[in-house]
Amino acid sequence: MELFGDPAQWLPFTFAALMGVSILVYVVLDGFDLGVGVLFPFASDSEKDMMVASIGPFWDANETWLVLAIGLLLVAFPTAHGTILTALYLPVAIMLIGLILRGVAFEFRVKAPTPHKATWNWLFFAGSLMTSLSQGFMLGKYVMGLESTLGTWAFAMITAVFLTVAYSFIGACWLILKTEYTLQAKAVDWAKGGIWGLVLGLGLISLATPLVSPRIFDKWFTAPEIFWLAPLPILSGVTVYWLWRALGRLPNATDAGARTPFMLSITLFVFAFGGLAYSFYPYVVPEKLTIYEAASAPESLFIILVGTVFVLPMIAGYTALAYYVFKGKAAELRYD
């Protein structure tokens, strides 16, 4: 332990970083499959089957990142876990009900008698929408310091819509990568429509966070930080421009660049998340509780860390295997 100095310092930081990575991976991975669900009403029945086929082998594992993220919050910062989740009691409940509905609709829509399929399709959409909206709502409340006023409510409603748009955008980019023909062409149109919502949402949160908290304002807009932080918004702008150009070239006969929009949207998510993480560090409950104050006993964190060091690379490895096995354009899901 000499090597790292005081474990009460580096352990909470390590766990905050792990939790951040889990949230980011979750937002990207479940983001695209939630987005696919949100786009359901715009697709025909056979396209719906193909959309589900494109996410079917992955969604379970994608959702596990949420369990890991909330698990890390629970085990590493138990007091913060309680404070945040009791403050977000109702949106959390709506999210959970949404997750339940869409998760089971995945199975029921193909296994229940055919006349019920339309109902399960609808529940799949409704569940995806409830989950996306409530996560966006929670993001807004969190940015506003978990305060409950009319203003924070209104702001959270707006972030709810924008996060949903962002999810449908990355969902559309996933469909461009995984599908062909008319569905792919439709997905390109969805992405072109969604990108403006995404840009607006990013801009809004970027403006709101420093305005709400003087501390965050100072972190961004004082020298010398402002100089090495300036590339972040600039790079985001470049990425958006590049995304727009990439979408303009699709669909095409050789399917060239079909992967690009999805990769670029991941990049954009990483930038946005990086900005937020920088703003809020070292707080886990905004302006109230830092990661150092909220952390569990170092002994307990250490024993989790030992496991994590071994297990996380394995998880990454077999997740890669699953994406490799199901690479290429989505095909009809079959059990044989």
Binding site: E63, V75, V311
Partner: protein, 462 residues
Amino acid sequence: MDTLMLSRIQFGANISFHILFPTITIALGWVLLFFKLRFNATGDGKWMDAYRFWVKVFALSFAMGVVSGITMSFQFGTNWPGFMETVGNIAGPLLAYEVMTAFFLEAVFLGIMLFGFSRVPGWLHTTATFLVAFGTSMSAFWIIVLNSWMHTPQGYEMRDGVAYATDWFAIIFNPSMPYRFTHMMLASGLTVAFLIAGLSAFRWLLGDRSQGVRATLRTGVYLGALLIPVQIFMGDMHGLNTLKYQPQKVAAMEGNWETQSNVPLLLFAIPDEEARTNHFEVGIPNMASIILKHKADGVVPGLDDFVSEDGEVMHPPVAPVFWSFRIMVATGMAMLLLSWGAAFMMLRKGRGAEGLPKLMLFAMVPMAFSGWVATLAGWYTTEIGRQPWLVQGIMTTEMAVADVPAPFVATTLGAYLSIYVLLLTAYIGVLFYLARKGVDGDVPRRRTPQSGEALARQVPAE
């Protein structure tokens, strides 16, 4: 009702709904591996038929388990923040290990197990099936370690009202863990055995005489007949372990108010907590003393020992524990009767499923869900039996509850309950629908495929 009671009902409803599905997937994973290995060894297509049918049930149950499980991981925070604040240093690492060593393993390989048969080499598909089964069992292991620790905590010290781990080996191998884990794994095996037997009997009654349905009916009946005596023995051992560490729970299970010798085994009674006595007792003399102490005049602890001098009751509510225990035992006895009866008839003259009388097949269909009844009754016995403690001797349930307004909890509880009723109806409906569809689709039988690839060409898509 107040927030505490509503939160308890909500968590109880969530965990009851949740446990139904892992109880199926834990053992069904291993049964699927068995089917796959039989197919690999014999090349007989009936085993793949069985695999393909039951993997659908697995997929559906797994999805139900995942989504209801996510709900619980959030409820620790939304409704029971005091739990993690007090024992988070112990519960945290155990939960973290569950997520890392079990959840990801099963969730990732599930995709390959379900949809990878014609995409990956046969060995990788078999390995994926194994890893999913292994993952579900690992998950059961870690969560039962934590649950058992809440019943029989050790390996910790309290500092300023917070528990700190001192000995992880003692925490993991706490006194009730081996018993509870074995009891639960066997319960899962029995649930699946009766589910398989029940749905196969249903298909048989509809006229399905395929090799696949014969194979699964046999598997279900023999598995049930094999596991039930082991379970009865294991349950008894678990009870003796509870007597040692949580005597108040056993006293409630027996409905025994006073510490005394020659305690009867009550078959029926209405426990009355106001009067602190039972009404309408029907019992077998001395039997409880014999079961628990192995002699007729053995002294069995009574509930009155667990009331403090100022009248505070520190034992669980009696009637729910008393009755859940009896429902569990009665279901177990019905399982014993049915599976041994069916196994005997099938073995006699070697007639297999043809040797089963129609009445017995009819009885198997509702018994498909007997595992659920017994498992829930068993968990109610042990969990209500731990009250008023949340973690035995460390914190009461009341200490952990969140300060959320009661109307909030009432709203979410109402929402969860209505969704659970809807989903449970849909789930059971779809199981029988799949079984019926299996009958229509599988008769007459297909040719026996040689490999996954050949199979993928032959079999029309779902």
